[in-house]
Symmetry: C2
Subunit: 340 residues, 2 copies
DNA sequence: GGCTGGCACTCGCACGGGCGGAGTGCCAAA
DNA sequence: TTTGGCACTCCGCCCGTGCGAGTGCCAGCC
């Protein structure tokens, strides 16, 4: 029916107006600002239906209407065209990210860029270890029985770990150990590392076995340990810009970011290649993020997911623009890291 | 004079009451809560003097008094006894920090601990590179002419950097290069590294010279580059607890933290060995931190400063307790890092 | 049947006056 | 120099009012 179509237009208009003004929007204002070709009265009827269906709500009787989570959902799924970035923005992305000297730097720039572009809180996950491969393993002696194991992945990520050995070791042993580890692990996916350990221990020269066992164990441990997935957060100041809404909404979000639960969300959705995922309000499992939306996407080259990145902001955000920004940044970062 | 003495008592009482209640404090309440042995009227006279001297102020006529920055300063300098930590707190520190597996982990735990202990925003600086010594240098080939230089310091800090070489290199060259670099730099203070470079280049085998030059340049560059000093921030959620005061005070602080100007403050004060430094309100150079106080201290072993750590909070904070916490944590972290 | 204009109704909010209370400053007396 | 008393000031709160925005409904129109 033509009516359904128009009702959706109305919903779209409501979302757009509300996002830009932050005021509940009424029928009259709608009729004025958008040429829907019908009178306020008609819009009122449509709004009544939309409210009944749960897409919009009024904060209190005789105020304008506000989109519900369900309303935003429909908007994102069916009513919004992804807004292409301006040329200037593309340039800015490029300019901002080029010239990064290492992984830390890349991710730091990324998070700042994303925060600036979307004016929201940005979150970038380090490339997951389990999806990475070993580029090099380094063993450095710290003290008699204490070794420092340094893992360098093909994504440029560097992890370190102190290993306590059962016995004292000398420099020669360290060298042997290093060679052994590298020949065994270099090039291997870290996800497969666990499987290789027993074999490696068995075939190692007898005097090295305890060492190999201890170091390998440490290596595997870094993988499974919670917190193996590091996170960079930026743009938290943007939360306050938003938070005129309800005081007391900033707190839980900051807490959630610090506890890094957001990253779990990101990870669990990253497998989808290149599709931007939007979680709106109540759709977020964690209750601290009720009232917030998360826009996230995986980054990496097409054949190889590396990690996730995204933004966190109020449900009342400019989805089309932000989704475009998140996607564009992810693409660029993916390329950049694939090169190195 | 006995009067001066009592006036200071009054100031102390005002600070204490105001910190705990967040309400301007009046003469009557003071007389009740602290046994100063005089009547409210007398206290009023003292308060008039204190106000004239600039130690306290009234938000508006006929409200109670509030300490000024100058008042807090006097309180911190002369009126507060450092409050020793409870046994439970000491235990907590120990428990919290033990079991850290690497530097990243140590500093992450430290910042959480400090934030939790003081209920303020905590800031921890990575051990400065320039004060560290080289434990090991690793060179890994990434592509034909592209090398990854990994620096491991004696504080456990690991830095990486991609180096573009003027020419393609083979595996053998890389091995030679690595040996050369390590024999030259291992054990050396990074601050001295710059001076060693020319000599190293001159004495290197001819075919390695361009490589050595490029890599050394990259190494030196990591030192001088702004941002060589990394920062961990935690407990930002605590800002909101405080911010009932004035909305609009949170924003600039978050921004300052992200721009890492705070770290500059920390660094510039770290040289003093073990003394806790307090910057109150306007004393902070950066205008975003007007209205906030910074409590900071250097950490490291007695003979060797490593970096700084501290907290940022409202001027209205519990200085004695927080100073004690900052100091205790710094001591413990210093020990911990000295060991490894 | 759906759209439109008109109209009465409902609230929230901003404005303003009145009140109470906390706190001060000053003064005179001990 | 301290103290109790007292008048004064001013903030914050409560409440009543008026206004305006927005709605829902209804009767008429296309």
């Amino acid at each position: 029916m033509a009516h359904d179509e128009r009702r959706l237009q109305v919903l779209r208009a409501i979302v757009q107006d509300f996002v830009s003004t932050n005021d509940p929007v009424g029928s009259k204002a709608l009729a004025e600002r958008h040429d829907l070709g019908v009178s306020p009265a008609t819009i009122r009827n449509d709004m009544a239906v939309l409210e009944e269906q749960g897409y919009i709500a009024q904060p209190h009787t005789s105020a304008g209407r506000v989109p519900t989570d369900k309303g935003y959902r429909l908007f994102v799924d069916r009513l919004s065209a992804v807004k292409p970035l301006s040329g200037a923005e593309r340039k800015a992305i490029e300019k901002f990210l080029d010239g990064a000297v290492d992984l830390h730097d890349v991710l730091g720039r990324t998070v700042r860029l994303l925060a600036q572009l979307t004016r929201q809180v940005a979150v970038v996950q380090y490339p997951t270890l389990s999806r990475s491969a070993v580029r090099h393993l380094e063993v450095v002696q710290v003290a008699g029985s204490r070794l420092l194991l340094v893992l360098i992945t093909d994504t440029g990520r560097v992890e370190q770990r102190v290993v306590e050995c059962p016995v004292d070791v000398d420099a020669e042993c360290v060298a042997e150990l290093r060679a052994l580890l590298n020949s065994a692990f270099t090039g291997a996916k870290l996800a497969d590392a666990g499987g290789k350990v027993p074999d490696l221990v068995d075939t190692a020269p007898l005097h090295l076995r305890p060492l190999v066992a201890a170091v390998s164990a440490a290596l595997v441990e870094t993988l499974v340990e919670p917190g193996e997935d590091r996170l960079v957060v930026g743009g938290t100041a943007n939360l306050t810009r938003t938070a005129l809404d309800l005081p007391g909404t900033v707190r839980p979000i900051l807490e959630a970011l610090e506890e890094q639960v957001v990253v779990l969300k990101l990870i669990s959705e990253v497998d989808t290649g290149g599709t931007v995922v939007v979680r709106i309000g109540e759709e977020n499992a964690h209750e601290a993020l009720t009232g917030a939306s998360v826009v996230s996407v995986g980054y990496g080259s097409p054949d190889r997911a590396l990690g996730g990145l995204g933004i966190v902001g109020p449900t009342r955000m400019d989805y089309p623009t932000n989704m475009a920004a998140v996607r564009a940044v992810a693409r660029y970062v993916g390329q950049l890291l694939a090169e190195s």
